[in-house]
């Protein structure tokens, strides 16, 4: 294969595989947060900000994968 083709493949694989884990993780975070709000609807104001903060933390591996994909595409 040519270098250019391998680059494109590698970038797609990096971003796609890196998105699996965070997808599962964010789903778990949101699911548990919604369950908590269902049990105690008055606490939703307290739960929501922390839900977004923890989702952002779970997202960071996807962002690393995205950065790697961008580096493959643009920097090399």
């Amino acid at each position: 294969m040519e270098v250019e083709a391998v680059k494109l493949l590698a970038a797609g694989l990096a971003a796609g595989l890196g998105a699996i884990g965070p997808g599962i993780g964010e789903g778990l975070v949101a699911g548990h947060a919604l369950a908590a709000i269902g049990r105690n609807p008055e606490a939703s104001g307290k739960i929501m900000p922390f839900m977004f903060a923890t989702m952002a933390v779970a997202e960071s591996t996807a962002i690393y994968a995205l950065v790697v994909a961008l580096l493959i595409l643009f920097a090399f």
């Binding site: 307290k46 900000p49 903060a53 952002a56 933390v57 960071s60 995205l66 961008l70 643009f74």
Partner: protein
């Protein structure tokens, strides 16, 4: 083909200093925010107008939220200005992206046609500086709270070894303490690495999200110009607001964590 570039482009040079499209907008947005907030603060009225009302709700709500995270009024008063400024600036920069028609404004330069506008938060240099400011604050707060030796002791943790040798001097041999010592040392080194990981994850989270939402809208516009890019634009709007919040809250949480004295430290101080 699509025109996607990681780095912002230079619009013109000011005494050898390249003025990029993101830098121009950073200055413009900062000036607008400052004029708005200072103007409202100068002319506070008992019966607030619309602008004053919106800003009051924003400031009060954020203050209460920061207070609920730090848990003490004294800390909130010190942290709030920094965190809130970060939040308002990032939010304003992200929302300005959604004014329609701005991608049509271009400037012709030697390197080709350069868009006059670019999402400010897709300039990694700016985000890196904001992150460094936040992480430096975290280190300074940690040094101020734990003292310079307590701060270094978090990274070079020799407590397990100390206990081991103390027990040997007292004639007791406890081999499990040396394992504890190695574990403490390892965790200390991990904490050191973690400080750098914070910089990378915090800065790339904001950059990656904003840049990705820009790129995905561009790609969708390229593939299908009508209707189809709309849902992606809405998703971009959501990330623009959430990421501004997340960046500020994570900085706040890091600073709060650094300013908290751990329980075993308190116990140590009590016995000393």
């Amino acid at each position: 083909m699509l025109d996607i570039s990681l780095a912002p482009r230079a619009l013109f040079y000011l005494a050898g200093f390249p003025v990029t499209n993101t830098f121009l907008w950073t200055v413009v947005i900062s000036v607008i925010i400052m004029v708005l907030f200072v103007g409202v603060a100068r002319r506070m009225r008992n019966v607030p107008g619309t602008t004053q009302n919106i800003i009051e709700v924003l400031v009060e709500g954020s203050y209460d939220f920061v207070n609920s995270v730090t848990g003490s009024e004294k800390k909130t008063r010190r942290i709030f200005p920094f965190v809130f400024t970060l939040f308002v600036f990032i939010l304003a920069c992200n929302l300005v992206m959604f004014f329609p028609g701005q991608s049509a404004l271009t400037v012709e330069r030697a390197g080709g046609v350069i868009p006059l506008f670019r999402a400010v938060m897709s300039d990694y240099g700016l985000i890196f500086v904001m992150t460094i400011l936040g992480i430096l604050t975290v280190q300074i707060v940690a040094i101020a709270v734990h003292g310079p030796f307590g701060y270094l002791g978090k990274f070079i943790n020799l407590k397990g070894f100390k206990d081991f040798f103390k027990n040997i001097f007292q004639g007791k041999f406890k081999p499990n303490l040396i394992g504890q010592g190695f574990l403490d040392l390892f965790l200390g080194v991990m904490g050191f690495v973690g400080e750098f990981a914070k910089i990378i994850s915090l800065s790339f989270r904001l950059f990656g999200n904003i840049f990705a939402s820009e790129v995905i809208t561009a790609v969708m516009l390229f593939l299908a110009p009508f209707i189809v890019p709309l849902p992606f634009k809405f998703l971009g709007l959501l990330t623009a607001i959430v990421q501004a919040f997340v960046f500020a809250v994570l900085t706040l949480i890091y600073i709060t964590m650094a300013s908290e004295i751990e329980e075993d430290e308190l116990a140590e101080e009590a016995t000393m």
